[in-house]
């Protein structure tokens, strides 16, 4: 029953990426379930990753066994030739790409018999996008992208049409705290799209960063946005008191948001960023900044397709699965919450 709903959810998304809030939140299990459901629904699935995943044991703790990535027969995979050889899966190489990882070049292959494999895709998002296009060209009807742990880049709408977010008991001892961390992460993922057409057209062309004032724009060196001291940011606002919006072409770091908040005082400020994978807030949630009059908008919004929960924290504590799912669902509207282990 629950599994069918997961199938329906993932079937409608051409390119799905998986994002785990931490190690052992069940991302790899969620990936396995997604691939299995897509296969059962009759789709040829293509799998790749940002970085590497799928080893037999956890990279942090060897006592924790990790499920490896199981591919049904006929699936397409983009990984390195060496890892394919190691998997000993019977496969047909469809294309050699120019994308080099320290583990060798990424190749695209079709597996002729089902089995498990380690996946290591290209490390840059631009290259992952090309690899996904290639897999589609070679017959993949749905693409699943495994984001390495904690890597927001995998949620970028430049590569994924939908995101499955995995959360779990491992984040905190206290269920309320886990729900809060998850809600903050979802808030960040679902940053609203900027609707102001003037700002959008400015943002599409920006290099580095830019302050929008009452009567024009002022370029901001990217160094100020990444590493500027409070004094430098304050000087910027002293010189341009009518500044009301900042467009950031690259990364929006929390230190910059904080410096701007202090410099702009009670005036409030709007940030426009490419997409939510470029926003780095770890100290305070979006809600706090919103209450201070700081708004963040994106050019392209990410879509959250589903949330999976892992109620078990390996070698530690566990929550009641149903209670956990219901608490997450109550705190985060408009998204389905699954326990992938229970669901499949």
């Amino acid at each position: 029953m629950v599994a069918v709903r997961l199938r329906e959810l993932v079937s409608s998304v051409p390119r799905l990426s998986l994002f785990g809030l931490a190690k052992n939140t069940g991302k790899t299990v969620a990936l396995g379930a997604t691939v299995r459901e897509l296969n059962a629904a009759g789709f040829v699935v293509g799998v790749t990753s940002v970085g590497r995943d799928g080893e037999a044991t956890d990279a942090l703790d060897e006592n924790i066994k990790k499920p490896s990535i199981y591919l049904p027969a006929g699936s397409i995979v983009a990984t390195t030739a060496a890892l394919l050889r190691k998997s000993a899966l019977s496969r047909e190489i469809l294309a050699h790409t120019d994308f080099r990882t320290p583990l060798g070049h990424v190749v695209i292959a079709r597996v002729s018999a089902a089995g498990t494999v380690e996946v290591a895709g290209p490390s840059s998002i631009a290259d992952v996008r090309v690899v996904c296009d290639e897999m589609t060209r070679h017959g993949a009807e749905r693409v699943v992208i495994d984001g390495a742990l904690n890597r927001k880049a995998a949620t970028s709408p430049l590569i994924a049409d939908g995101v499955i977010l995995s959360t779990g008991a491992v984040l905190e001892w206290d269920l309320e705290a886990v729900v809060r961390i998850t809600r903050d992460a979802v808030d960040l993922l679902r940053l609203p799209e900027a609707t102001d057409s003037t700002l959008r057209s400015l943002a599409a062309r920006v290099r580095g960063a830019m302050l929008v004032t009452g009567d024009g724009t002022v370029p901001i060196e990217s160094e100020v946005a990444l590493a500027g001291t409070p004094e430098r940011v304050k000087a910027l606002f002293d010189a341009h008191p009518t500044g009301h919006c900042i467009i950031v072409g690259g990364a929006l770091c929390e230190s910059f948001v904080e410096n701007v908040r202090q410099a702009a005082r009670s005036k409030g400020m709007r940030f426009v960023v490419g997409n939510s994978s470029k926003v780095f807030l770890s100290k305070r949630g979006l809600a706090w900044y919103r209450a201070q009059g700081i708004g963040i908008e994106v050019l392209k919004a990410a879509r959250l397709s589903a949330i999976t929960v892992n109620p078990v924290s390996p070698l530690s504590h566990r929550f009641d699965s149903r209670h956990f799912r219901e608490s997450v669902a109550a705190a985060i509207p408009d998204v389905r919450v699954f326990d992938v282990v229970e669901a499949c």
Binding site: S123, I125, A251
Partner: protein, 270 residues
């Protein structure tokens, strides 16, 4: 020379390998240990029993010596029946032959031919700069000079507790070839979040393909580094020349590919 060394590692078909003593794959090993037994006729038997318990076959005590009252030191030769699949291991680790400082400099002059810029820091809340200092500073550690001492590197060490944004800004400002991150002491897997954020900021700034990302520290493994999207991770026992060997070998490989790519494009074969 480094080139032939690298080619030989890449090309030789190693397959399963055993320990080597007199001839290839004879499996002979030498084990040394001390037992809390008196230096007496019967003590060698204890050493042989222990060697058998280790899974060694046909052990011989070739040396035994009194350490102090009640303690004896042994050297045992034996046959080890186990083998390892070196080829499968090569699939997992970026294979780079370690070069000395002089070899790195010669290799770099030959294959890269310009100054290599590296920027390093201990990031986040980590106050310990011991790791990054050992790799970058002139004095290095344990008799191995840091990258500052190499003719082929221009190294910037930003120190400890450096925010990720500051490290990336510096890398952009000096057009760095490599960013080195050290994480020495962390709690609650904080290093994982911190390292992932660095890679994501580099990606958000659009420079991921232009820099080598290297991380290191006692709790960092190559596997973890890869999983987080770094190019390599270095753990305990790393000397500056190991790091230097990786950087120059990887940059040389990328340079070769970039040249080939531009030739292909020029020839319309793209």
């Amino acid at each position: 020379m480094p080139e032939s060394m690298i080619q030989s590692v890449l090309k030789t078909n190693y397959g399963m390998v055993k320990a080597y003593a007199d001839h290839k794959n004879d499996g002979i090993v030498q084990v040394a240990f001390t037992l809390p037994v008196p230096y007496a006729r019967s003590s060698s038997k204890a050493a042989l029993e222990l060697a058998k318990a280790m899974g060694l076959v046909r052990p011989e005590v070739v040396h035994c010596q009194r350490v102090t009252d009640g303690y004896t030191y042994f050297i045992v030769y034996a046959h080890c029946p186990h083998s390892v699949d070196f080829e499968a291991l090569q699939a997992d680790t970026p294979d780079v032959d370690f070069m000395t400082q002089a070899e790195v400099e010669a290799f770099s002059a030959d294959r890269i031919g310009r100054l290599i810029v590296v920027v390093g820091a201990s990031t986040g809340t980590d106050t310990h700069s011991v790791g990054i200092d050992a790799m970058l500073n002139l004095k290095g550690f344990d008799g191995h000079s840091g990258l500052e001492a190499y003719a082929c590197f221009r190294a910037y060490n930003l120190g400890s507790q450096v925010p990720n944004g500051v490290l990336v800004a510096k890398a952009v400002a000096v057009n760095a070839d490599a960013i080195l991150v050290s994480q020495t002491v962390t709690q609650q897997q904080l290093h994982v979040h911190n390292l992932a954020e660095l890679v994501d900021i580099v990606e958000a700034e659009g420079i991921r393909k232009d820099v080598l990302l290297v991380c290191g520290g006692p709790r960092v493994s190559d596997e973890l580094a890869k999983e987080l999207g770094f190019d390599v991770g270095f753990s305990k026992g790393t000397y500056p020349n190991h790091l230097a060997s990786f950087i120059v070998t990887e940059l040389a490989a990328r340079t070769v590919e970039a040249r080939r790519d531009s030739r292909l494009r020029a020839a319309g074969g793209w």
